[in-house]
């Protein structure tokens, strides 16, 4: 169900990632203000954008779960948020490395962009403990979906609030004027963004496929073992256990 198109998607992802990194280091010019350190942005900004989109996707699948009660949507939401958290960690770490080089500090607490992203990250960091705390699978999926929707609505609100903030020192990459990037830098950035989006999609489908295979195996094991051992205890987990 989830593995369809995984092979071509993986090939496209590898090609785009290699192409993006080649463009970053051999095609895009050094930034006039920041110099070579600006190369981090081709990694950091796509990571942050794709992570936020993944959180939104989690909310979207939460809505679909509540409308249809199809467990597959709960699984999709779970994996999307799980992967987005990993990308968000990468965005925070790469951002801190850039901040140390550009501002001389690993973290600046009065910068709205950084703090708001950290708040979103910490909000979603509660998602897995919340799931784990609920044993009943139906209630777990329902509560997690409501959480994903509410937190998902918080993402664009947060984004808008940061844009409206009057004082910030964090550079703007995407703006109404196109972020004042010259053409070759913009092409590189867009390829890097596409590569990161494809990487997210590939890992998302990969993990969904793996989880589905694991669920099918567990179900089969229960059926086959029924004669010998009628009681096979279900392992408590934050992840959905059945479709």
């Amino acid at each position: 169900m989830f593995a369809r198109g995984l092979r071509p998607l993986s090939a496209v992802t590898v090609a785009l990632l290699v192409g993006a990194f080649a463009l970053v280091f051999f095609y895009a010019p050094n930034d006039a203000d920041q110099g070579f350190i600006q190369k981090i942005f081709y990694l950091h900004v796509p990571l942050a954008i794709v992570a936020l989109c993944g959180f939104l996707a989690g909310g979207w699948f939460g809505v679909r779960y509540l409308r249809t009660r199809d467990r597959a949507h709960d699984l999709r939401a779970y994996v999307a948020i799980h992967l987005s958290l990993i990308l968000a960690v990468a965005a925070l770490v790469t951002g801190s490395i850039w901040a140390k080089a550009a501002w001389g500090h690993w973290w600046v607490w009065d910068e709205p962009t950084l703090v708001s992203f950290l708040i979103v990250f910490l909000l979603y960091a509660c998602y897995q403990p919340l799931r784990f705390s609920i044993e009943d699978p139906e209630r777990q999926a329902r509560t997690a979906s409501v959480f994903a929707i509410v937190a998902g609505a918080f993402v664009p609100l947060n984004f808008t609030a940061v844009r409206l903030a009057e004082s910030f020192s964090h550079p703007r990459v995407l703006s109404a004027t196109g972020g004042s990037m010259p053409g070759d830098m913009r092409i590189t950035f867009l390829v890097a963004l596409a590569a990161m989006a494809c990487l997210f999609m590939t890992l998302w489908k990969y993990e969904l496929t793996s989880k589905q295979a694991s669920m099918q195996l567990r179900a089969l094991k229960r059926r086959l073992a029924a004669d010998d051992d009628p009681w096979v205890p279900a392992r408590r987990s934050a992840a959905p256990q059945q479709l």
Binding site: F21, N30, D31, A32, D33, Q34, G35, F36, I37, K39, I40, L43, H44, L47, I86, V89, A90, V93, T94, I97, W98, K100, A101, A102, W103, G104, L199, L203, Y206, E207, S210, A213, S214, L217, R218, L220, K221, L224, A225, D227, D228
Partner: protein, 67 residues
């Protein structure tokens, strides 16, 4: 702030890209571990199915079937 010279900026850029690479590799390693577990469970299931087949044959023939 003035642009850092290449010698100073290089390690920061390398560190950022290495963090990304490390995270992807850790993820792939975890997925490989899960795949190995799936393979092991599949082996257990195959063994269980074979055992059940043997038991069914024994019951049908009324005499033990050599493994």
């Amino acid at each position: 702030m003035p642009a850092l010279p290449l010698d100073d900026a290089g390690p920061y850029v390398a560190a950022a890209y290495l963090v990304f690479l490390a995270l992807v590799l850790i993820y792939v390693a975890i997925m490989a571990g899960k795949l190995a577990r799936l393979q092991r469970e599949l082996g257990e299931l195959t063994e269980l199915a074979e055992r059940r087949d043997r038991a069914r044959h024994e019951a049908a023939d009324g005499e033990p079937v050599s493994p």
